[in-house]
Symmetry: C2
């Protein structure tokens, strides 16, 4: 059975989904829906590009629509809206608003008889699963999440908004000593500053005062003031040459104890090392889209998260094949 996928929104993530679908012989890309003029969009070979306004007229041709908008302004209205027409998957990642988003999407999807998976990707997503399994298996323990080394889009954007900054990239870097302490099973208490450092590569405008820019960065509340931050000024050429990738990753570690007197230490670590954040996220979305199509065929209606999906549903293989080859 082939699962037909639509892509709504054609930025980095949408292009990732377009690419990763091709690695799954049981899936087919139906087309891309964009807010831009379709004639101006350069898509991959064989990809059809539609105006987003036409989406409704394709609702019976698509098994799952993967919504590839941003969490800040797109997904809060797009996912509930398109869940009225399609089974949907999104990567909503504003942790504080997940409950509200779930409720909105659940309402739309239930009313329309559709299946909707929200907050899929790696964090939230695979990291959430690592936290859940870890918490259930080791109820007495502590969670640690380290991010990086990787590019933080939000922090890079925050630097770019400073006067005199032409462009910037910010790397979030876990503190090696903190990671090692956690992996030893010690369950240390760690401050924000002890867990991550931030390294910034900044292109300054000609004549801008670099000392002032650096001060503004390292003292920026929420983004940088709680961290040890290093600022490097580089040329635009250097930035493009050395910092144009989007690597990311990190670790979720559950450190817990077992034994009648809690005498045994156990450490569970889930670790990702990704050359490309958006392509890996896309790859997760595609696997979960397969599960959403199956849940819908079985009659599931409403919103769900990665927590609700039996792992076998992510695979094109039968239960018998999975037991024989992966168990």
């Amino acid at each position: 059975m082939t699962t037909k996928i639509g892509i709504l929104g054609y930025g980095n993530l949408g292009r990732g989904v377009e690419s990763e679908i091709k690695k799954n012989p049981d899936m087919e890309l139906y087309g891309v829906f964009t807010r831009r003029d379709p004639d101006t969009v350069k898509a991959g070979l064989g990809t059809r590009v539609f105006d987003i306004g036409e989406a409704a007229s394709h609702k019976d041709d698509i098994d799952v629509m993967i919504i590839c908008g941003g969490s800040a302004t797109d997904l809060p209205h797009q996912t509930p809206e398109y869940a009225k027409l399609f089974n949907v998957v999104d990567s909503f990642d504003t942790h504080a608003n997940i409950s509200e988003h779930f409720k909105n999407v659940d309402g739309s999807a239930k009313a329309a008889g559709k299946t909707a998976l929200i907050s899929c990707g790696w964090d939230p997503g695979m990291f959430s699963l690592a936290r859940l399994y870890g918490n259930c298996i080791l109820p007495e323990g502590k969670d640690y999440t380290f991010w990086g080394k990787g590019i933080s889009q939000g922090h890079s954007d925050a630097i770019r908004r400073i006067e005199g900054v032409v462009d910037a990239r910010q790397y979030t870097i876990p503190v090696e000593a903190a990671v090692e302490a956690v992996k030893s099973g010690e369950q240390p208490e760690l401050t924000t500053r002890q867990k991550h450092t931030r390294e910034c590569f900044v292109v300054a405008a000609e004549g801008a005062d670099k000392r002032v820019i650096e001060e503004k960065i390292v003292n920026m509340p929420n983004y940088f003031s709680d961290y040890d931050t290093t600022v490097h000024f580089v040329s635009m050429e250097e930035l493009k040459r050395d910092h144009s990738g989007m690597p990311h990753g990190g670790s979720v570690i559950r450190s817990g104890v077992t034994g009648p007197s809690n005498e045994y230490k156990d450490v569970i670590e889930y670790n990702l090392k990704l050359d490309s954040n958006p392509y890996f996220t896309a790859s997760v979305l595609v696997a979960f889209a397969r599960a959403v199509a199956r849940l819908h065929r079985e009659g599931k209606k409403g919103a769900c998260t990665v927590f609700d999906i039996p792992p076998a549903y992510l695979s094109p293989l039968s239960g018998e094949e999975l037991r024989a080859h992966l168990l």
Copy 2:
């Protein structure tokens, strides 16, 4: 809602389950069922001990029976037998016979309207889940499983069967260079010898020829001949003092590629470091027993594996709580 757990078989694993249940306030230990004379069994404070022959008369008092026998001779008949009376969980780990075991347990459980989870623990179990998620998310890639550093019961037993050996412990040790090569995203081809080494601590009988024992160990087919094996002769006192624990662990690594030209490397690693193999395995069994009780309440009948269980079912928390705190 309290889930009442029975333990069938009271060795290391059964004692582990007895201990780990206490870390879960929503679970209650009903009692232990043993083949030994109950009056001779020293159980934990407050644990009731029953003769295994009485199990049937307690069938309505227990939500899930965790079968803690061995995979070689106990589980192949115990799990299908007790699935006629109880919802069951086992840790059957003979990979080659899982299909047959599943079929036998499924038949019993379906006929009796019970829910049965087989092959739960860390491998098979959590490692299987890591393999499944990894394969689905990165369909173009390669799997690597490393075990250790840890005690292999099977290899220790094999050494003990050699003439002139009084006692022995065998550690399986992953080759650091191989693990690092895999974690770099290189997808190396690795032989058995390149992945693990084996280190043996052996107590020889007085007057036994240690050279002969060592030869027999390192050349033993299946167990040692494909590995670089080191043999240390120690006194019984040293063995007990330094090697009486049951640490284990290991890593499942999925190394794959994303991107239109497969240009991005991604490495997913799931890593366990366990002070006590049986207590951690017990801890996994207990969490999954919670899921089995819930699946049974929802009407699920027959056998399943960790692949079939929505992760949320392992947790005592509601969907809303999970979304708020762990997503």
